[in-house]
Structure formats: C-alpha cells, structure tokens
C-alpha cells in the first residue's frame, strides 16, 4: 500500500506545484493588466491516519487565494476617464449580460452612446443626479443604478435666479444725482440681459435703487422693480434698510423666454467718503454653452464641463465593498462577484469610510511583482522535480517488487 501511496503523494505534490506554476504564469501574464489582483497558492497537508508501524503517506491540498484587497501602484495617464480607487472600494460595472459586478479596473473609455466601458467591456454604473442634491443610495443592493452616460444633450442653459451687488456709494453725491452700474443676467433661453442698477440719492444716508432693462434696439428702459427700493445707511455708512438687505426683480417675459425673479443680495453695501461709485457684483446663471469635456471628482461626481466654465453634475459613481474582499470570486475580465464567503455587498459613495476616493487620470496597476513571481517559479520548478523524484523512486521500487517474481 505504502509504495502506491508514495507514488500518489508524489503525484499530489506535482499537481500542487503545477497549480502554483499556473498562478505564477497567470500573474506574470497579467503583470500589466490594469486592476489585476495576483493569485497565490497556499498548501495544506493531507495526512492519512497511520496504523501502528505503517505510515500511510497522504498528499497536499492546494488552496488558491487572491490578494484582492492589496492595492496596486498607480500610473498616471492622460485620459480623464481613466479612474482608480485609492482605498478599499470597487467600481460597480455591468456586463453585457446585464449583471452587476465589482472591479478595480478603471480604464474606462467613452463609447458612442456616452457610456463608459472598460477594457474588458464592462460598463460603469452610478446614480443619476436629478437635481443638485446627492442621489439617494440603496445600501445593500444594486437597485437604482444606471449606466453612467456622458452624452451632453446639446446646449445647456442655466437661467439666472440670484446674485449679489455690493456698492460703495460716495457720500459726497448731491441729492437727486444718479449713479449707475450694471450686471448681466441670463433668461430662461440663455440670452444675456443686462440689468442697469441706478442709485439715486434722495437725502442724507438715503438712496433709492431702481433696476431697468433696455431691450436691444430700443431706448425705453423697462422697469424691473415693482417699486424703487429705499436704501438707508446709518451714521457709520452701514446699510440698515432694506432688511433683509436684498431686492427682488419682477419676472419679465422676452418673447418666449422669461427672466425669472432675481433675488439680489445688497448686504455689504456702504455709503463712504469715496469720490466714485465702487461696485462688486455678480448674477448666477450662464448662457447656452456646449459640453467640451467631463470631469470626475475624487468624491465620484461625474460632471459635464461646459464651455462657459460651468460644471454640471450628471452622475455620481457608487463604490461597493464586502466584508472580506479577498474572498470575492474572480471572473474573467478583472471582475468579481459576491461569494458565500465574501459577505454581503455594501454600497456607498467615494469618500465614505473604507471605500476610498476616486482618482482621475490614473490607473491602478496589477499588484504583481515580477521578482516574487520568478523566485516562486524557481521554487515551484525545484519542488516539482523533487516530487517527480518521489514518484520515480516509487515506480522503480515497484519495478524491483514486480521483478521479484520471475
């Protein structure tokens, strides 16, 4: 029995080393695969119970492990859709089969339909923004996720809604004199509307503000305020009225477009001993502009970059993690799926604890170290040879045994 046992043990050892060589081969082959996590083999002894003086040789069990939780080094790239996760989370991607997987491979490219697909053909998923508020997240499932779509949808207009205007009014102005300044606002169709602000001094520390708009080609200004706003300053020149320090313009229609009521914050305005009107102001909103690029921030917000400099959030990339990432079951294409041992998937946004942040223009390298693999390979080679010697010896002894009978 024991000779056969020895031979089987030798075979088991050879199989184990072949497994190990297999992982080494995979690791070396994928040394430059983005987001690849190295496979490793651990062995456990398989010893048969001995009876008295007889020793039954057993064998060795191979246990393949993946260093999924070990982060690789980062390589900077020039594409803003190349993403890497600095931390423990995973991207959620969808395969062509419609099933969600986890991955660390962030070499995404924008496809013709606007979706982001990585080298293995998986589509990046995230939560769409419906307003400027963060989308709500489903903690323990993939519900609510949709493929991130970068297609801009043409020109985008942000109509103005509010602004601020701080003025320093010269206290030497004579009663009845008017000083003017102006700000640009955008109507609902993105046309710029220049609003003129006129400050007329009506008495000591008293000014009256009117806001007008002069349509192009016309010389008759349209009044934008229901009634002039009285501004009053105290003896030290600070604004005390109106309270709150703001004015709200009337809604104004221009053909089919509408300039929404604008709340202009007047706080910070002063009446001081300057010789000329000083002004600092701005109204939000922007005219029609097209998408020129996109940006992924470290907290995973995918924004479209518009030509006027505005960034409009469209999606937020969600990250997922499990309790035991190393126990995830690896599938082709650098993706992982939940396994019995990994624990349940927990969703979150980049920056949430444990998930890490997203880095744009960077790719995560594989965590394979060639030197380790090569030395492992030598070791496996030698071990394999040694195991084959065991088998050979067993075989030779069997030969001797068989030759006992002529």
């Amino acid at each position: 029995m024991s000779l056969y046992g020895t031979m089987r043990t030798g075979v088991s050892g050879m199989n184990a080393q072949a497994n190990r060589l297999g992982t080494v081969a995979d690791n070396i082959a994928n040394a430059n695969t983005t987001g690849y996590k190295r496979a490793d083999t651990q062995f456990s002894s398989f010893i048969l119970p001995g009876t008295g003086g007889a020793y039954n040789s057993g064998g060795v069990n191979t246990n393949v492990r993946y260093s999924i939780s070990q982060q690789g080094t980062f390589t900077p790239t020039t594409s803003s859709t190349d993403l890497a996760i600095d931390g423990g989370g995973f991207f959620i991607v969808q395969g062509s089969d419609g099933v969600e997987y986890l991955t660390r491979a962030g070499a995404f490219q924008k496809m013709s339909d606007g979706t982001l697909r990585n080298a293995a053909g998986y589509t990046l998923m995230g939560y769409p923004y419906s307003s400027s508020q963060d989308p709500t997240i489903v903690i323990n499932g993939f519900d609510g996720l949709s493929p991130i779509n970068m297609s801009g949808g043409g020109q985008v207009v942000t109509p103005s809604s509010s602004g601020y205007l701080q003025v320093d009014l010269p206290n030497t102005t004579a009663d009845g004199e008017t000083l003017s300044t102006s700000l640009v606002a955008y109507d609902s169709q993105g046309a710029s509307r220049k609003l003129d602000f006129h400050y007329t001094k009506t008495g000591d520390n008293l000014w009256e503000v009117t806001v007008t708009y002069t349509p192009p080609g016309s010389t008759t200004p349209v009044n934008m305020l229901a009634a002039p706003v009285e501004m009053e300053f105290n003896t030290s020149g600070q604004l005390i009225a109106p309270n709150p320090a703001q004015l709200v313009t009337e809604q104004e229609a221009f053909g089919g477009a509408v300039l929404a009521p604008l709340t202009i914050d007047l706080s910070g305005s002063t009446q001081v001993g300057v010789t000329a009107l000083g002004a600092d102001g701005s109204i939000n909103g922007s005219g029609p502009s097209e998408v020129i690029d996109y940006q992924v921030s470290s907290d995973g917000i995918v924004s479209l970059k518009y030509a006027n400099g505005d960034l409009i959030p469209k999606f937020r990339i969600a990250l997922a993690n499990v309790q035991s990432p190393d126990m995830l079951s690896p599938l082709p294409g650098n993706v992982y799926s939940q396994s019995n041992d990994s624990g349940v998937i927990v969703m979150g946004y980049p920056g949430n604890s444990g998930l890490g942040g997203i880095v744009s223009n960077v790719l995560e390298d594989s965590n394979v170290d060639i030197a380790t693999e090569l030395t492992g390979m030598i070791e496996a080679q030698r071990n394999y040879t040694a195991n084959s010697k065991v088998f050979q010896t067993g075989s030779e002894l069997m030969d001797v045994l068989v030759n006992l009978k002529r």
């Binding site: 890497a84 102006s182 700000l183 000083g278 030509a307 960034l311 170290d369 380790t372 090569l374």
Partner: protein
Amino acid sequence: MSLSDAMKIAQANFANTALQTAVVSKNMTNASNPNYSRREAVLVSTSYGATIATTQRVQNDALLKQNLVSISKSVGQDTLLTGLERMKTMLGGSAYELSPSTYLSELWNDLQTFADTPSDLSLAQSVITSATDVANSLNTISGSLQKLRSEADADIAASVSELNRLLSEFKTYNDQVKLATATGGDANDALDQRDKLLGQISSIIGVSTVVRANNDIALYTTNGTVLFETLPRTVTFEPTRSYTAGTVGKAVFIDGVEVPAGTGGNTSASGSLPALLQLRDDIAPRYQAQLDETARGLITLFQESGQPGLFTWMDGGTQATNVPGGLTTGLAAAIRVNPAVLSSQGGDPMKLRDGINANQNTGNEASFSVLLDGYLKGFDANMTFDPAAGIDESTTLLEFSTASVGWLEQQRSAATTARDDKAALLSRTQNALYSASAVSVDEELALLLDLEQSYKASAKLVAAIDEMMTALMNMTG
C-alpha cells in the same frame, strides 16, 4: 514595495523631470517677454503615494494692480503733455515768439513810435503791418487749436473702437481662464494674455479689477462704471469731424455713463481717453477763450465811437459793425485788420491817425495824435475779461495776453513734472513686478542642472533594477 514598484517610481520621475524641463525651457524662451509670468513646476505628494508635477504661475496681484494704475496714470499724463507741447509749438516754441502777446507788444511799440511822429506814413504802415501780424497770429493759433481738438476727437474715436476690441478679446481670455480654473485645467497661458490685455485696456482708461468665483474678473473704470462683467459693456462715441471754437464735442459713454474728462495740469486722467477729453473739452476751449478775449480786447481798445476801428471782425461772412460786449466764442478766428487802413485793399493807413469811421482830424493837421494817444492810454488801462478764460479778470490787454502764455506754460510745466513723476512710478512698479514674476535665466539654468542630475539618477535606478531582473531571469535559466 517590490522591484516592479521601484521601476514604476523611477519611471514616474522621468515623466516629472521631463515636465519640469519643459517648463524651464518655456521659461527660458519667454525670458524677454514682458507679458510672461514665470512658471514653476512643483512636485506634490498625492494621497495615493505618487509624486506628480503641476505647473504654477508666479503672480503678484498687488503689484499687478499697482502696475495697472501706474500705466493708466502715466499714459494719461503723457497724452495731456503731448497735447500741451503741441500747443506750445503753435506759439513758436521755447520763446513763444509766435504768440499773440509777442506781436501785441510789437504793435504797442510801433504805435508809440507812430504817435511820436504822426505825420510819417511809413510808421503808419508798420503799425498796420504789426496789427496784421497780431490778427494773423490770433487767426492761425485759433485754427490750429481747433485742428488739435478735431485730432483729439479722432484719437478718442480710435481709442473707443480699440477699447471695444480689447474688451471683446478680454472676454475670450477671461472665459478661458474661468473654464480652466473651474475644471482644473491649465489657465496660465490665458492668464498671461488676460494680464497683457489688462495693461492695454488700462492705457486707454484706468481700470480696477474685482476677482470673482473661478478667477473671473469684472472690470470697473476708476469712476466705478462697469467696463466688463461677464460680457463687455459697449463703449459708444459719436465723432465730430470738424471743429470750430463753438463746437461742443460729444461725450464718451461706457455702459450709458459718461466718461469724465481729467482735470488739472497734473491731470487726474487715468488713461489716454480722459486725457484726450480733457484736451478737447477743457484745455483747448479754455485757451480758445483766452484768444477770443484777447481779440475782443483788441477790437474794444481800437474802437471808434462804438464801432470797430483798426481791428474788426467777420460776423458770418460780413464785416461786423458792432463791438462785442462780452466773451464771443470764435472771435479770435474772425478778427481782421480793417480793410479801410490796408493799402493793399485800397485803404489808407493814415486813417489810423485820423479816424476810420469818421475823419476826426478835421483840421488835417500833420501832427494830429489825439486818437493815437487814446489808443496808447487804452493799452495802459485795465480791461474786464471773462472769468471763463481762467486768468486775471481785470488787467491790461498786454498783461492779459502775457498771462495767457503764462497759463499755458504753467499747465505744461505742471504736466511735465507730473509726467516725470508718473513715469518714474511706472518704471518702479514695473521693475518690482518683473523681479517678482519675470524669468531669471540664471535661476532657470541652475534649476536645469538639478533636473539633469535627477534624471540621471533615475536612469541609474532603472539600469540597476534592470540588472537585478536580468540576474533573476538567468537564475530561471
């Protein structure tokens, strides 16, 4: 850490050194470009352990603002001084030998000589010649002055269209800066261009800048008028082609607000536009008023029984028959010597002695000098001048015309002193700005040596790692 990691890090250093070298080379190329701010490639450690180089632009906002103020003040003063120098040239240069006051004192001398010998026809002739010189001088200077105004007007028109062009160009670069800042791109080149445009704009009109979100700049003139805010405001001006003394030039409007002209010899004008307005609407008309008052003084002084005498004036194509009672705009251009005493026009110079409108030398005496003595007395008597002329209101005609020259000289010398001060301030702020933001070739070269060493060290590292790998490979043999 592993050998592969070590290799990656060394490789990253190649990329960083290459970027830093590119920045150094860009700096050196632009060493003599005054609108270029030095760039610095800075290495930063990121949260994920890598080192990347980002390009930063050296800038000093306080100095930049000061520089803009200095530019506009200096250009404003220069523009005014150029105008005043031109006015001085009209008067003949350093000795003011072509000024009305020079000719006026000659006339006075000749008149005295003639009054001593009233029978001498040749002396009468020379008085008439001097009188013609005075009238011509007033006519010529008045004409040149209006030409100066029309040229200033043309310059204003040119400045306004240039300003509109600069503002629309400013929008282009401001939008680029906004975009690059908002999206984390490289705004440096656009910032250079924007700063350059700011300099050009402030040479036309003084600006103050307000920085808003995303490095968006709003421009206001020194008077608080909006020049640029998201969009350029229109600057409008209706040019007037030809000027006479009575022509009032049109104002320049920025965003519907009139641009005020500068005041004073040490002008308050910021930029060429207010200075040109000051020249056109203040200095030149003021001097014209002085010329007009000199002309009125002459006509009044030589009047005979309420009618113009030796000096008369053209009132709309015909010779006037009345003596103007007060400041008459354009009189200096209209003043003439009465044709009745011009022998070239069939007149008789001796009428100056006897009376032009009516013969007062009824006895036909050769030594009749009542009128001539009266004129001489008139030269000594104080006259009343209009306050619009801006000099002595009650003085003799000769003193008035001398004071007029003095007024111009005073403006000019004040402008010259102020020009020197403002030019010195400009060169000082520019020096300070350049030393803060311009490229120093020495520094760049030193940096280049450092970079070379760093690059070589990385190359050594890569070679060493390569050798280690080779050793490993040989082992697997």
